[in-house]
């Protein structure tokens, strides 16, 4: 079990100790999620909370809770716009008020108690009623996150690590094929070497073998893949002390998920078809230039740039590092090709500045999971409640209400003022197999519950809403992760959520 490490001739110099800064220590638990780039984006943001005051939609507590969850991780600035004065009822639901706040401006009082949470954040307040300050020119200019652009691209979507592996076993490039050839005759290997061939090379070897026996075709369906897996399993040596080989076990476990031709995900396909991607102008955002270059890459090679990551696998250190180098080198070559295209685009469009190499690199690595959210109506502020005359949403209601485990009747009840009574009777009459009563009973219960609690807040409901809104705000501000596209309904009676697209 001993092995000579591939030593360098001179011992490497010790790097100076980079102990974390005070800021890195304070924000350590979140930097592990969105890294320094996400943190920088948060710190550059200014979030405006507009408190609505219509009956049944008091947003002051959910808003304060949202801000708490954004101030703690350190947004740059926040502003609360609320013209109300603090009442006794506020004290029972809003944690960021005290006895001494009574009858004072709710915006100012909440701002000062929230401000205490984090000295790195600046708080501001606006006491004037919304209709006084909103119409002023540029009144919304200082704030992020309020105006939704027509297209909102996200490069770093943090896909599930289980799904991201792109190893190109069915589309190996020359260097990878050469590494497999270099193995030579496996049967001549010592037990140690045989037990340390990385599973990836084993599969490449046996896939060639399979192809030769199956008219040049790779195993494609489940039956063929399981057959192929048995074949691989039979190649393991069992005469050794362990009675088997870990690398062969890993190879068998990888067969089903690793032997698939590379496909283009729906997010990427949509991106390639968006006008901004195909019709570049001098003023196009950096994102679209890189997207266009990646599309050209895809059109030429029928694959995206290689992400270049390699999962850990049983291997010798040197053998693993060698394979890792092959993947990294290919990823770099792909990035170089995309960069080259980007530079050509830049010069043909006459753009004054070059896009940073790191931005192109990040895009290439995440290309398969890039998402562009679109706002087709191009409304700066989409209506989040169902409005009278929103025929499209009304026609979707029957399907929503009768779908499995739906809680859509809560959404219906909360928008009851906008539903024509004839529509309501039709909905109640729908066939429905969901347990817990007929659809009519479900709808009536939801309406009764919403009516009885109308205008009254429960702190838990506001707090959970504030948590969800803050998570979504963080996604939008850091431009990482995939935000919700639609309206989230939370049903605290059944502890369920549902997303409704309006």
């Amino acid at each position: 079990m001993t092995e000579e490490a591939p030593r360098e001739t001179t011992p490497p110099p010790l790097q100076p100790i980079q102990a974390p800064s005070a800021k890195e220590r304070k924000y350590d638990r979140q930097l592990r999620l969105w890294a320094a780039s996400g943190q920088r984006a948060l710190e550059e943001s200014h979030v405006l909370l507009v408190v609505g005051n219509t009956a049944g939609s008091n947003t002051s507590v959910a808003g304060a809770e949202t801000l708490k969850n954004l101030i703690l991780p350190s947004i740059g600035h926040f502003t609360i716009a609320d013209s109300a004065k603090v009442t006794e009822a506020d004290l029972g639901v809003n944690f960021f008020l005290e006895e001494s706040s009574l009858a004072k401006s709710r915006a100012e009082e909440t701002t000062s108690f929230l401000q205490e949470l984090n000295p790195d954040v600046q708080g501001h307040s606006i006491k004037d009623p919304l209709h006084d300050w909103l119409p002023k020119q540029d009144s919304l200019k200082p704030y992020n996150l309020i105006l939704l652009p027509a297209e909102f691209p996200i490069v770093d979507t943090h896909p599930d690590p289980e799904t991201v592996q792109d190893l190109r076993l069915l589309k190996p490039w020359d260097e990878l094929q050469a590494a497999e050839k270099e193995l030579g005759d496996l049967s001549q290997m010592t037990d140690h070497d045989h037990g340390h061939v990385p599973w990836l090379l084993l599969l490449l070897r046996y896939l060639q073998h399979w192809k030769q026996q199956h008219g040049g075709q790779y195993p494609s369906n489940f039956k063929e893949k399981t057959e192929f897996r048995s074949f691989v399993r039979d190649q393991a040596r069992t005469s050794n002390a362990e009675g088997g080989e870990e690398n062969f076990d890993e190879a068998c476990a990888a067969v089903l998920k690793s032997i698939s031709p590379p496909t283009l995900g729906s997010g990427c396909r949509e991106m390639f078809n968006i006008d901004s991607c195909t019709h570049l102008t001098q003023a196009s955002a950096n994102f679209w230039l890189v997207a266009n270059a990646i599309k050209q890459f895809y059109d030429k090679h029928e694959v995206l740039p290689l992400p270049g990551g390699l999962p850990d696998m049983k291997a010798t250190s040197a053998g693993y590092i060698k394979l890792q180098t092959i993947y990294k080198a290919k990823a770099r070559a792909d990035i170089a090709e995309v960069t080259d295209t980007v530079r050509k685009l830049e010069s043909s469009l006459g753009r004054p500045e070059q896009i940073a190499g790191s931005e192109i690199e990040q895009f290439c690595k995440n290309a398969a999971f890039v998402r562009v959210l679109t706002n087709h109506g191009k409304q700066p502020l989409p209506e989040l409640r169902l409005l009278k005359g929103d025929e499209k949403t009304l026609t979707k209601l029957p399907a929503m209400l009768t779908s499995f485990q739906s809680i859509s009747e809560v959404f219906l009840a909360m928008n009851i003022d906008f539903i024509p009574s004839s529509t309501l009777s039709e909905l109640k009459a729908l066939e429905d197999m969901i347990e817990g009563g007929t659809l009519e009973e479900r709808i009536d219960k939801a309406i009764e519950e919403v009516t009885r609690t109308l205008g009254h807040e429960m702190h838990n409901t506001s707090s959970i809403t504030g948590g969800m809104v803050a998570q979504e705000a963080i996604k939008l501000l850091t431009r990482q992760y995939v935000p919700v596209d639609g309206v989230v309904i939370w049903d605290g009676i059944r502890s369920r959520t549902e997303i409704v697209k309006i």
């Binding site: 591939p6 011992p11 638990r29 979140q30 809770e65 991780p73 429960m458 959970i464 948590g467 009676i493």
Partner: protein, 430 residues
């Protein structure tokens, strides 16, 4: 105006008008036990409730409980405040670093919400006995340690006395990791318990020692090597303290040097800390969601104003579709080693030594026992305590399982970390 609200130390009821209105009207979702009105409010106010953990979830739980009308809240936490808590534990400030979490959190909420009494205990849950836990109406856990969850779970199950309904203490458990979290309600002995679902908390597969010693491939392997091999070899007289920057720097430098020897890149100081301390990412917003969901269940259990969660909600805020929740009824297992009546089946190799078998109990997802003692119905196979028994059973450690038990025999395993004995049935694998 402010002077009107506090008269002779009692707080005006006006501040509770939202809650009072909701608890004074009938709900179509509540069952017959719910009688809206002042009785429900007083039932809520007299419900003594225990919060375990005053960290990320605990701070939120205390705020939520106080604003949900609970008046008598106890909180246990053995930790002191660290600077890395401040990004989410909103009851603490920079000047509180080093103080008791339970004490600072309790004092803050008591001051902010007049009329609520919060009793802190700065110590371990294991310091307290059944009599202590018996005083509560229900218990909410906001812990990051699976060991502590298992301890309180087994203790509450052990407390259940069928002839005394008051002995059944509902347990509400919350947990978070990054953008994900879960909330669940456990009725000890009646519904699925922590132990029934233990395999959902499987420990990360340990990297084989020979990989660390001879064939490292990942930066994490180099860090584990520095932690598990280099430290005990080179600094055996120093107790490793991951909060000591000198210790972390030493591990980091060792790991870095080793990584360079093997041409491995990516070892950083933050990664060293993360690997050795097993740091779980944590943010305020996820804690807010999970804690509010848990408190909502506490309010339902205390007032019957709506049916409580049956029994598990998973929240995923970083999914491909934005977010989703999965609410389901986790199954109670007949062979749960804690709440089940039957022994749990466990496949063993008959030629394994007892010592090796006991070693695997730490890693098996369904057991996770670190200091097990084991006995059959008739005899002690290996007991760690008392020393005399340890000495007399030690020779069994090197014996094969087939020489100690028969195929399919039931054994009892105890561990100092738990109040109860785990029952396993050892089935010989061919």
């Amino acid at each position: 105006m402010a002077t009107d609200t506090i008269t002779n130390g009692t707080v005006s009821r006006a501040r509770w008008q939202h809650l009072d209105t909701i608890l004074a009207t009938a709900s179509p979702y509540a069952d017959e036990d719910y009688v809206p009105g002042p009785n429900t409010v007083s039932a809520l106010e007299s419900s003594k409730i225990l919060v375990i953990g005053a960290g990320g979830l605990g701070c939120e739980l205390l705020k939520n409980l106080a604003l949900s009308g609970f008046k008598d809240i106890h909180v246990i936490d053995m930790d002191t405040i660290d600077v890395s808590n401040l990004n989410r534990q909103f009851l603490f400030r920079q000047s509180d670093v080093g103080k008791s979490k339970a004490e600072v959190a309790a004092a803050f909420v008591e001051k902010r919400v007049p009329g609520v009494k919060i009793t802190p205990y700065n110590g371990k849950i294991q310091d307290k006995d059944e009599e202590y836990y018996m005083q509560f109406k229900l218990i909410i856990c906001g812990l990051d340690s699976i060991e502590a969850r298992r301890w309180i779970n087994s203790t509450l199950i052990d407390m259940v006395d069928e002839s005394n309904p008051e002995s059944l203490k509902p347990l509400i458990d919350g947990g978070t990791e990054g953008f994900k979290g879960q909330a669940r309600v456990i009725l000890p002995t009646l519904t699925s318990c922590i132990e029934c679902q233990l395999s959902m908390h499987a420990p990360r597969a340990a990297v084989p020692l020979c990989t660390l010693a001879t064939i490292p491939r990942q930066p994490q392997h180099c860090i584990e090597w520095a932690h598990i091999i280099a430290w005990p070899e080179q600094r055996k007289d120093d107790l490793l303290d991951m909060d000591d920057p000198e210790h972390v720097s030493w591990l980091y430098q060792k790991a870095l040097t080793r990584a360079q020897e093997f041409n491995i890149t990516g070892v950083t100081y933050a990664m060293t800390q993360g690997v050795v301390k097993n740091i779980i990412p944590a943010i305020a917003s996820t804690n807010a969601i999970v804690a509010a969901a848990c408190t909502n269940e506490a309010l339902k259990l205390a007032t019957d104003c709506a049916p409580f969660l049956s029994n598990y909600m998973m929240y995923t805020g970083d999914s491909e579709s934005g977010l989703y929740t999965y609410t389901f009824e986790a199954e109670k297992k007949d062979d749960c080693p804690v709440c089940g009546q039957l022994a749990q089946n466990i496949a063993v190799d008959p030629v394994t030594t007892l010592e090796d078998f006991l070693g695997t109990l730490a890693e098996r997802a369904e057991a996770q026992l670190k200091k097990p003692s084991i006995r059959t119905e008739g005899k002690s196979l290996y007991m760690r305590f008392p020393p005399g028994l340890e000495q007399s059973t030690r020779p069994n450690l090197s014996k094969k399982l087939e020489d100690l038990v028969s195929d399919g025999e039931e054994v009892g395993v105890s561990d100092p970390a738990f109040a109860i004995q785990f029952k396993f049935r050892l089935n010989f694998a061919k």
